[in-house]
């Protein structure tokens, strides 16, 4: 527990926007006083009064990672009673310099769990904006805090948040020439970490299904590299296809019903799509070159992919049935791994020049290109559900050690995401990517 809390603090710090002492004019200031408890009782997760403070702190930490919101508190804010949580005394909060107020309470239950309730009020219009309530194990209060913060963000920005999201990745241990690769999954803040495979075979490219319940990935099980699907609890591991040549690079369709992937035979790699439960794959590309890394648009109508049909790897977009293929990247060097943002506005990619590889974004028609990172080898971008952050893999020159990083699409330094071991190939839940 102590390990997780310290790690999540570290992670939260890593994800924080560039520290600004004051809210920017476009931001909504939200006051987050500590959550009261009707009766302070001891639970497995600590006293409910303490949990109330910790939840408020976690909500502030979460909200600080968004661009639209500037949170304040819980230090320095006045307290209130649990009965006030559902009916705030607006005049008391009028002059604290906030546009909105978070209230709520933590209550011990007879079954040993706790009830966490939270509200968001608009202090100017004096109305409720959002509310959420959960009965959770007392040790899982942080989950409740994430979901409270998520419901506030949804109410304000109309977008999903990443606070309750998960990240699947490949834990990379062993030496460089004798690597050990394990599928791993954790909450975005590093808590609730688990391994889904134990390293006996090499695995790559985990992709969470849109509902977060399954992971498509590539495995060398049986000696022939192929796409498999596994439940996030580690059960029901199966091959996506009955019997094929080598298949790799899986991506889910936004409705979770299909998986696009690449299949290679006789030196030719093409993109196919198949029902997520198996069946006969449908071929989408026929060019003699290497067509790979498909990624659906959020409405499912288009697929971005990479192809070397022009000589070097470049980004292309086609309709989901394979028609209307056109090139969208023309910058220097080669471009790979296109990933469509959950809001549909941008395509993230990695740009390879001779000297380095970095993460960039461009609009789906190829305009507005912007390079976000400045590493030696930054690749494999994956969008946060709110389309504001990208997770990616950064490899260090010389040692070749890989790690997970995040970068804000709006700009700023890349920050390391803590994982128990070196990590590669991050995939953020909450969107088909």
């Amino acid at each position: 527990m102590r390990f997780f809390s310290s790690m999540s603090l570290l992670l939260a710090a890593a994800l924080m926007a560039p520290v600004s002492a004051h809210a920017q004019s476009s931001q909504i200031v939200i006051a987050v006083p500590q959550l009261p408890t009707p009766k302070n009782v001891k639970t497995d997760g600590g006293e409910t009064g303490v949990i109330g403070i910790q939840i408020a702190e976690q909500i502030v930490t979460d909200l600080r990672t968004t661009r639209a919101i500037y949170p304040m508190g819980p230090k320095g804010l006045k307290q209130y009673t649990p009965t006030e949580a559902g009916a705030p005394l607006y005049p008391n909060w009028q002059n604290i310099g906030a546009g909105a107020l978070v209230t709520g309470y933590v209550q011990g239950r007879d079954d040993g769990r706790i009830t966490v309730v939270c509200y968001l009020y608009d202090l100017k219009q004096r109305r409720e904006m959002a509310r959420a309530g959960f009965a959770v194990a007392s040790t899982e209060w942080r989950r409740a805090a994430h979901r409270c913060a998520g419901s506030f963000v949804k109410a304000i920005t109309k977008r999903p948040s990443h606070f309750d999201s998960r990240i699947a990745y490949v834990a990379a241990t062993g030496s460089r020439t004798q690597p050990v690769r394990r599928l791993a999954i954790m909450n975005w803040d590093g808590t609730d970490h688990s391994y889904l495979t134990q390293g006996e075979v090499t695995v790559t490219s985990p992709r969470l299904s849109p509902d977060g319940q399954r992971i498509a990935y590539m495995s060398f099980a049986g000696g022939n590299p192929h796409v498999r699907v596994i439940d996030v609890d580690g059960g029901n591991d199966r091959a996506l296809l009955q019997s094929t040549p080598m298949s790799f690079s899986p991506r889910w369709s936004p409705d979770g019903r299909y998986v696009a992937f690449s299949m290679a035979a006789d030196g030719n790699t093409d993109i196919y799509v198949v029902n997520a439960n198996g069946g006969i794959p449908q071929r989408l590309t026929t060019a003699p070159g290497i067509d790979t890394s498909p990624s659906f648009s959020p409405d499912g109508s288009k697929i971005a992919f990479e192809s070397d049909r022009s000589g070097s790897q470049q980004l292309y977009v086609m309709d989901a049935n394979g028609s209307g293929q056109r090139r969208i990247s023309f910058g220097a060097g080669s471009s790979s791994s296109p990933v469509w943002s959950p809001d549909g506005e941008l395509i993230a990619f990695s740009r390879w020049t001779g000297a380095s590889a970095n993460i960039g974004v461009m609009s789906p028609n190829g305009g507005g290109e912007k390079i976000l990172t400045n590493g030696w080898q930054d690749e494999a971008p994956s969008w946060a559900p709110d389309s504001e952050w990208l997770a990616f893999q950064r490899t260090q020159q010389g040692t070749g050690v890989a790690g997970l990083y995040t970068v804000a699409v709006g700009g700023g330094e890349a920050k390391a995401l803590g994982t128990p071991q070196p990590g590669a190939d991050p995939n953020w839940s909450g969107a088909a990517q």
Binding site: P179, T202, S249, S334, G398
Partner: protein, 189 residues
């Protein structure tokens, strides 16, 4: 009664006949005799000994490629010609053609490029007379570099295809099978 007994007898004869064909006659040159080749130890092959023999007779088990290239250089072709002869002379060996790419391209592209290189080698070996059923192909992409450093003077050595020898498929050497038990006699009615 007699007719039924004859039918049962015929059944036994039939079982004996099918048992006769249970052992497929080995092709004229198989199975190779123990000691005929280095690494031959009856039906089980000592793969490391065979691989050492391959490296000794053909110079190397590896062919290398230029960056992003799958073109076989003249040096690679000479190596593959020798490897093809080695394989043709040892039809009991199965070879896995393992394609690799260096780590300075996307993971997906590296898988595709490794497969493309392995396919180029496979096509060359088949054109040189190696039976296709003796060959497998695998792409490791960039997952198995040979160089310890991520990027130095030797990193292009990861762009390669390695011939890895395998035990032949299980039914390659006919194994004596236990005689199938005759069906239990049917009770007369």
């Amino acid at each position: 009664m007699i007719a039924r007994a004859l039918i049962v007898l015929a059944g036994f004869v039939g079982a004996a006949a099918s048992a006769q064909t249970y052992y497929p006659p080995p092709p004229s040159q198989y199975p190779p005799q123990p000691g005929q080749y280095p690494g031959m130890q009856g039906p089980v092959l000592a793969i490391p000994v065979l691989e050492a023999d391959l490296r000794q007779k053909t110079g190397t088990d590896t062919v290398r490629f230029g960056r992003d290239s799958y073109v076989l250089t003249s040096q690679a072709q000479a190596t593959l010609t020798a490897q093809a002869q080695w394989l043709i002379q040892r039809p009991f060996v199965q070879a896995s053609i393992e394609g690799h790419a260096d780590g300075r391209q996307s993971r997906d592209y590296a898988f595709a490029l490794g497969e493309r290189r392995a396919a180029a080698v496979r096509n060359y070996l088949i054109a040189s007379g190696v039976p296709p059923e003796q060959l497998l192909t695998v792409s490791w992409g960039r997952e198995r570099p040979t160089t310890a450093a991520a990027h130095d003077a030797t990193w292009l050595q990861n762009s390669r295809v390695v011939l890895v020898l395998k035990q032949p498929q299980q039914n390659y050497f006919p194994q004596p099978q236990p005689f199938p038990a005759p069906p239990p006699p049917q009770p007369y009615r």
